[in-house]
Symmetry: C2
Subunit: 240 residues, 2 copies
C-alpha cells in the first residue's frame, strides 16, 4: 500500500509520500515514490506514485529516458502545457500497465498504478492532477484543493477540516504530515521514511524537499503533540 | 454502506449504528440496524447489522421467530452462554447468506452481511463479537476493546486514541458519536438518524437507548464543538 497527498493552494503546492512497498505481508521494502523534474524558473513537475512497483518504476524510467533524448517529442519537460504533461503521463501509464498486465494474464493477475502529477510551466497556472490506472485524470480545484492516492481514508478528515485554497504553506506542511500520521498509525503497509516537497507559486522550481526518517525528532514530537491535543480536545467536548 | 461500532468496557457496553441503506446511489432508505433482545436481569443481547438488507432482515426475523417459539432449541434467549449465542447467530447468518446468494447466482451476484453481537447472561461475562459473513467470529478483548462493521476507517483514529477498558460510559458515548461524526462527514452512504444503546455491566438489561435524529441539537453542537476543537488543536501544533 501507499499514501500520497498533494495540495494545490494559492501560495503553492505541497506533496507528501511514504516509501513502503510490499509484496504480501512478509516482503516489505523501502522505495522512493516521489519524483521531481525541473528546469528551474522554466518548469517544474512532481510525480507521486501508488500501485504496482513494476508499473511505476517503468513509467518513471521511460519518462527519464524521454527527457534525456532531445529528439523525443514525448518528453514531459518539453510539453507546452501541464494539461499535455498529464495527458502524456496518462497514456504512458496506461500503456505500461497494459504491457505488464499482459505478462501477468496467465496467472490471472493484473498490475495497475495511479499517480499524482503536480507542476507549473512559466506563463501557466499551477496544476495538480490525479491520473487513474486507465490513464484518464481529474484535477484539483478551489472547491477540492487536495488529491490523494493509495490509503486515503484515515488521513482525509484532517484535510477536510483545515485545508482551504488560502491555507499558508506552513499550515499545509503541518496538515499533510498530520494526515500521514493518522494513516501510519492505522495501516501497517504505509511506512516511514517520508518524502515532502514544496513548490512555491510562480517559482517554477522545487523550493524545499525533506526526507523525514523514522528517527526524525520533529515529526515524532508533532505526532505526540497531536495525540495529546486530540485527547485534550476530546475531554473538553460536552456530552450530548 | 453502514457504520456500526461496539465498545466492551469495564463499566459496560456501548453500541452505535447508523440507519442508511442504499441500492445504488439513487435508491436510499432508512432502516434500523440495531436490534435488542432482553429478559431484564437475566440476559441481554444487542445485534448491529451491516451488509445486504435482504440477508440481515431475514436473519433478524428468524431470530425473533425462534425466540417466540418456546419449543425452539435455537432461540438465542435460551442459549446457555454468549459463546453459544454467537455460534447460533453465525450459523444462521451463513445459512441465510447461502440461500440468498443461491437465488442471485444466475445474476453473477451474491449477498452477504456481518454483525456485531453484544450481550451478557446472568453469571457470565459481558462479551462482544464480530460475526463475519461466513459465520465465523472474533471477540473484543482488553487489548482491542472495540469492534466495527461497515465503513470503519474514518472513525477508527478517535477510538484508537481515547478508548481503554477503563474508559467511563460517558466518555464512551462521546467517543462513538465523534467516531460516527467523522464517518458521516466522509461517506454519504452512512446517514442519520443514529441508534445508540448502553448496557451497564452486570445489569443484564438495556439501560439506555437513544434515537438521534438529523435535527438533534445536542449532536449538532457536539459535532461543531469537535470541528472547532480540532482546528484549534491544529493551530497549536508547532511545525516540524
Amino acid at each position: 500500500m501507499t499514501y500520497c497527498v498533494g495540495l494545490l493552494l494559492d501560495a503553492g503546492m505541497v506533496l507528501l509520500s511514504d516509501t513502503r512497498t510490499n509484496a504480501g505481508l512478509d516482503n516489505i521494502a523501502t522505495y522512493r515514490k516521489m519524483f521531481l523534474f525541473e528546469e528551474p524558473g522554466e518548469r517544474v513537475i512532481a510525480i507521486c506514485t501508488a500501485g504496482s512497483l513494476s508499473v511505476t518504476q517503468t513509467v518513471i524510467a521511460r519518462l527519464e529516458e524521454a527527457n534525456a533524448d532531445p529528439e523525443n517529442p514525448e518528453s514531459i519537460l518539453r510539453a507546452p502545457t501541464m494539461l499535455q504533461v498529464a495527458t502524456l503521463i496518462g497514456k504512458l501509464l496506461s500503456d505500461v500497465s497494459a504491457e505488464v498486465s499482459a505478462k501477468m494474464d496467465r496467472m490471472k493477475q493484473g498490475a495497475s498504478a495511479s499517480l499524482l502529477v503536480a507542476g507549473q510551466r512559466k506563463g501557466g497556472d499551477m496544476r495538480l492532477f490525479l491520473v487513474y490506472p486507465e490513464g484518464n485524470f481529474i484535477e484539483a480545484t478551489a472547491d477540492t484543493p487536495y488529491l490523494q492516492i493509495g490509503e486515503h481514508k484515515y488521513g482525509k478528515p484532517i484535510l477536510d477540516r483545515v485545508i482551504q485554497p488560502d491555507t499558508s504553506l506552513e499550515d499545509a506542511k503541518k496538515a499533510v504530515l498530520l494526515s500521514m500520521d493518522s494513516t501510519l498509525r492505522s495501516n501497517l503497509s504505509v511506512g516511514m521514511p517520508l518524502d515532502m516537497a514544496v513548490i512555491e507559486a510562480d517559482t517554477m522550481r522545487v523550493g524545499e524537499t525533506h526526507r523525514i526518517e523514522a528517527t526524525d525528532e520533529g515529526f515524532a514530537r508533532m505526532s505526540q503533540d497531536w495525540s495529546n491535543a486530540l485527547r485534550d480536545a476530546f475531554q473538553q467536548i460536552k456530552p450530548v
